[in-house]
């Protein structure tokens, strides 16, 4: 059990003076509190697996330090760090039974048999593997194998954190959901720090208390799922979280009014009243675009209506730019091709300059 602090940067380049582009992880300062459930979210190649391997010790950061409970572990090997890691593809020892698999990390540490048995049966019970302890691991389905991989991590009671590197990729969708529930249960019962790497926002949002969004080796935002959704700090977070992501409209401020090109779209909020930048964007989620009554909002053109089961997704042409609008009520909508008034300025409208959110949100 430990608090994990990272103050580091990492480059795979061996050049004496690597260029900023060579960094897989840009200088960062990040703390994982003991007992938290964290998700590292980002597209492939954003550096999330690099970060995970640095925490586990499989990779040594090119500069900076890794602290567990204040103790510098940067130079320690994975086996000396009390870290457990679950990989994308389940790893089991084929010739061993489920029970022997679970006991293996304890056996290599020469723990006495009585303790091993107690610990194995406890973990097997939590994971629902108690009745399968004598089965040979090689022939089990992928989800069972992944549970065993997880169990091998949890079986050590001194484990500082369990790192999960896209652990549900090869699992069937239905079982995925069950395994995620199991993970949350394990997290509650064992009070262990979990760090979960994924590129799937649903997985991240449903699993974690805190989500760390990364792109190009940089941490863009650390926040609860609600914060990421309602208050993205970066246009990337807005786009990556949510489906579809946030709408971004390039706007200019002239005389206290907001314009898209030459078309007025409303009164500029105080936050951006004096903003003269040309790199200003208005961001609003499809969920937060309102369908406006006559004489309010701005006039746009309805292009498409898509039913997505429980709700409808409208594609609207706002002065030449496509904007997504989510609505639960398809009645009162005009036919596609007809004008539709929408309101993009609301309590959840945000403004971004050079892709970074302007302070204090867009509360009107």
């Amino acid at each position: 059990m430990a608090k994990i602090e990272l103050k580091l940067a990492h480059t795979y380049s061996t050049a004496a003076n690597p260029s900023p582009d060579d960094y897989a992880l840009v200088q960062l300062d990040l703390t994982f509190e003991q007992g938290g459930a964290y998700a590292l979210l980002g597209p492939s190649g954003c550096g999330k697996s690099t970060m995970l391997n640095i925490i586990s010790g499989l990779l040594r950061p090119s500069q900076g330090r890794v602290l567990f409970d204040g103790r510098d572990v940067t130079l320690l090997k994975p086996s000396e760090r009390n870290i457990a890691q679950v990989f994308q593809f389940p790893v089991v020892y084929d010739t061993m039974t489920v029970g022997q698999n679970l006991a293996f990390p304890l056996r290599t540490r020469r723990i006495e048999q009585r303790k091993i048995d107690a610990r194995v049966s406890l973990i097997a019970e939590i994971l629902g593997l108690s009745s399968d302890l004598n089965l040979i691991a090689a022939n089990l389905p992928a989800d069972m194998k992944q549970k065993i991989s997880l169990g091998r991590g949890l079986v050590r009671d001194d484990v500082a954190a369990v790192l999960l590197d896209e652990p549900l990729t090869v699992i069937d969708p239905l079982l995925k959901w069950q395994l995620r529930q199991k993970l949350k249960e394990v997290h509650r019962e064992l009070n262990v720090t979990l760090v979960y790497v994924t590129h799937d926002q649903v997985e991240a949002m449903s699993f974690a208390d805190k989500v760390i969004v990364m792109s190009h080796g940089k941490i863009l935002q650390v926040g609860t799922p609600e914060e990421l959704f309602e208050d993205p700090h970066h246009t990337f977070v807005g786009t990556f979280v949510g489906s579809p992501g946030m709408n971004f409209v390039e706007v200019q401020v002239r005389g206290g009014e907001l314009f898209k090109g030459d078309n007025p779209i409303g009164t500029a909020p105080d936050l951006v009243k004096r903003e003269t930048s040309s790199a200003l964007k208005l961001g609003v989620r499809p969920e937060h675009v309102a369908i406006a009554a006559d004489q309010t909002g701005v006039e746009a053109k309805l292009k498409r209506i898509q039913s997505l089961g429980g709700y409808y997704l409208l594609t609207v042409d706002l002065y030449g730019q496509e904007v997504f609008v989510r609505t639960d009520r398809p009645d009162h909508l005009p036919e596609p091709g007809a004008p539709l008034r929408i309101d993009v300025l609301g309590p959840y409208t945000r403004f971004f300059k050079n892709d970074i959110k302007l302070p204090f949100g867009g509360h009107l």
């Binding site: 090997k77 086996s79 990989f87 790893v91 020892y93 084929d94 010739t95 990390p105 991989s149 091998r152």
Partner: protein, 287 residues
């Protein structure tokens, strides 16, 4: 229904013709020779199991059979562990790994009688690198006179020739183990032996059973290399079954006993391969 049946024959007949000429007819010829005494093209006598009985009672053949068993067991016991060891030592990636692969594959590309010649020259005490070097340090390596030395020479040659095959098979087997297994083992605190015992060896299982079967069958019918290297001598000390068989059939023209023995030889290989295969299967199922 009937029409489909007839059309099917058109596809099957070529296969039957091919197999008849390549397998069934030659085999029947051997069976023919094994139960008849063919004195001349016009005269032949049915002899029943006489050739079989005489060949089973043949003391020299029995001795060759024991030598053959010894030789195959020795090559398997040495080449399999050695091949695994070599595969484990090979670099897993990088330019050096390709170089190592090419070097390793070299002996496999050399014609078998050339292998025999190479080792014959190599072992000669007067001009051979190995033989001469040994005699310089006071050890007379007389493979042409001393049966033990002849065995050592033949075994060394076979190990040099065929261990690379096992190493290559194992190397590809090892390459197919995902990196994650090693990472997981490292995190679990597994030592080098644990990794070998619980990850590498289990993953090599299927590749190894192929390697063992191939090596057994090949070593059990070995002919060319020892024939070139020692000519079966000194005396009969390195005369293996194939060589004895060809002496019988071509040297002495005892076609009948040779045919009878060919059938027995074939059945022995089949039987031992079958036993080996099943033994390896139960072995891997048990662990």
């Amino acid at each position: 229904m009937k029409r489909t049946f007839e059309a099917g024959w058109f596809f099957i007949i070529p296969v039957i013709v091919c197999v008849s000429f390549t397998a069934i007819l030659p085999l029947m010829t051997v069976v023919n020779y094994s139960i008849q005494d063919i004195i001349s093209p016009e005269r032949r006598v049915f002899v029943g199991t006489e050739w079989f009985r005489s060949i089973i009672m043949d003391q020299e053949l029995r001795a060759a059979f024991v030598r053959q068993l010894l030789f195959s067991t020795a090559t398997l016991c040495i080449e399999v562990p050695l091949g695994i060891g070599v595969a484990l030592c090979m670099p897993r990636r990088g330019a050096f790994s390709s170089a190592a692969l090419v070097l390793l594959a070299m002996p496999l590309l050399i014609p078998w009688n050339v292998v025999g010649t190479i080792w014959q020259l190599y072992s000669r005490p007067d001009i051979g690198l190995l033989g001469h070097a040994l005699s310089l340090i006071g050890f007379d390596f007389e493979y042409a006179r001393n049966p033990l030395h002849a065995w050592v020479a033949v075994l060394l040659m076979d190990i040099w020739h065929w261990t690379p095959l096992i190493a290559l098979l194992c190397y590809t087997g090892l390459q197919s183990i995902p990196e994650q297994y090693y990472l997981a083992a490292e995190i679990d605190g597994a030592g080098k032996f644990d990794i070998f015992r619980y990850i590498q060896l289990p993953k090599l299982r299927s590749v190894l059973s192929i390697a063992v079967l191939l090596r057994f069958m090949d070593s059990f019918v070995i002919y060319t290399e020892p024939f070139v290297l020692t000519g079966g001598g000194p005396g009969n000390s390195t005369t293996f079954l194939s060589q004895y068989l060809s002496q019988l059939a071509l040297g002495q023209f005892d076609v009948g006993p040779a045919a009878a023995f060919s059938i027995i030889y074939f059945l022995i290989i089949l039987l031992i391969s079958f036993i080996l295969y099943n033994w390896m299967r139960t072995l891997s199922a048990a662990t």
